[in-house]
Amino acid sequence: MYGGGYIFDEPNRRQLKDEQQHDDPEKLLEFEARITSGAKIEPGDWMPVEYRRQLTRLIEQHAHSEVMGALPEGTWITRAPGFKRKLALIAKVQDEVGHGQLLYNAAETLGKRRETMINDLLSGKSKYSNVFNYPAETWADVTVIGFLIDAAAIVNQVANAKGSYGPYCRALERICYEESFHLKQGHDAFIELATGTKMQRDMVQDALNRWWQPIMHFFGPPDKNSVHSEKLMQWKVKMASNDDMRNQFLDAYVPKIWELGMTLPDANLQKNSEGRWGYSDPDWDLFFKVINGDGPCNSERIKVRKWAEESGRWVRQALMNSANAKVLPVA
């Protein structure tokens, strides 16, 4: 579901500048011309050091987000109201973990081993989308996640699917297809509460109030603070600016919330005459605080992920020993 607009970068990234300068200028020109012409880059192709590094980070963090995003939702499977909602939630959680697999594969084509990526997640070195460091307190939270966070992720992923790196685009194509089901089931569950009893409406309103800020954070800091966007956009690693994606999201989904008589906790939220949405700046200090480990659920999420890794190890090792029997050619 869940690639956000923000790609965490380590503060010491300048150390790579020297290496970057070693890119063969002739090959770099050829590479950039290929991207401009709309052709895809494939794993065996020459690529600038910085392109490989940025893409690895982007795809890896996207993969981690899929897997970590399944944790708050997975918890709700047993509590989901009714059999159909449970089935849909199980299917969604399975999809998200599957998306993680697809994305780890795409990231691996750039040379980083899957085990290293998991180790970096567990040690806190690589990040995942900030929204999953918040708790899903009620069933209404699950509907808000399924509706609005998946919708936000789709805005981002549809854009990225037109990017320059072949394996990432192919993974996203499949992901976007499955996400459309996530969004629809989320919207359906959201509408059921929003058109229900007063208690149900209050519950969904409360969830909206609590999730609005993390949702505004989702696409990352405003463009005026973005440092390295220009090159990434030229290389089609990043396909749209954070503010543009946020605007696109607001344009499509705020009316869908308002039409149900729900409100959003921002008095300045409105569309201006040029078609751009105005809003109060969310607390960006909080955003960075949560990224750096100080959100309400950071520690809990990593603990659970570590537990899964440790508890699953004996299964992985037991399977490892099976002898690979010789098989006949298939065709």
């Binding site: 494939e42 794993p43 065996g44 192709d45 020459w46 944790l71 708050p72 918890t75 709700w76 509590r79 399975q94 599957g98 697999q101 697809l102 594969n105 691996e108 081993r113 899957r114 085990e115 998991i118 180790n119 567990l122 040690s123 708790p135 899903a136 307190e137 192919r170 993974a171 499949r174 499955e178 659920c297 950071n298 520690s299 809990e300 990593i302 603990k303 659970v304 570590k306 537990w307 890794e309 440790e310 190890r313 992985r316 090792q317 399977l319 490892m320 099976s322 690979n324 029997a325 098989v327 298939v330």
Partner: protein, 126 residues
């Protein structure tokens, strides 16, 4: 901090500290297999992605979960990624003159032109 988590794994298990070290060893996530699925009997198998698996048999099981859980699928192949032999992407130019080989194409042979020319000639002779 008080733990209000709804997650039973957090509430009921004694989870190790988030700061403790868990290391996944190289190779622990097994090998990579390429997956090809067939949408209907008689169609080609098409490459759809990869899975990590410890053996071909389990690669098939995982591939079914990953690529066969929606839409029509009647069969799946898996093959170890290391066993795939491919041309270097850089050598793309060796296919460049394919489009010049009109003698390999039906469109490279203009029979109607010749027939019409012959018929026109016949009419003139009469």
């Amino acid at each position: 901090m008080e733990n209000n988590s709804l997650d039973p794994r957090v509430n009921r298990l004694h989870l190790s500290d988030a700061a403790s070290l868990v290391i996944v060893n190289d190779g622990e996530n097994w090998n990579v297999y390429e997956v090809f699925h067939q949408e209907k009997r008689g169609a080609h198998h098409e490459h759809v992605g990869c899975v990590h698996a410890p053996s071909p048999q389990l690669a098939l099981v995982f591939a079914k979960e990953q690529f066969g859980r929606r839409k029509k699928c009647v069969n799946i192949w898996v093959v170890r990624s290391v066993d795939i032999l491919a041309f270097e992407v850089e050598d793309e130019d060796m296919f460049a003159n394919n489009l010049d080989k009109t003698y390999r194409d039906a469109s490279g042979f203009k029979v109607m032109e010749k027939i019409n020319k012959y018929k026109a000639q016949q009419r003139e002779e009469k």
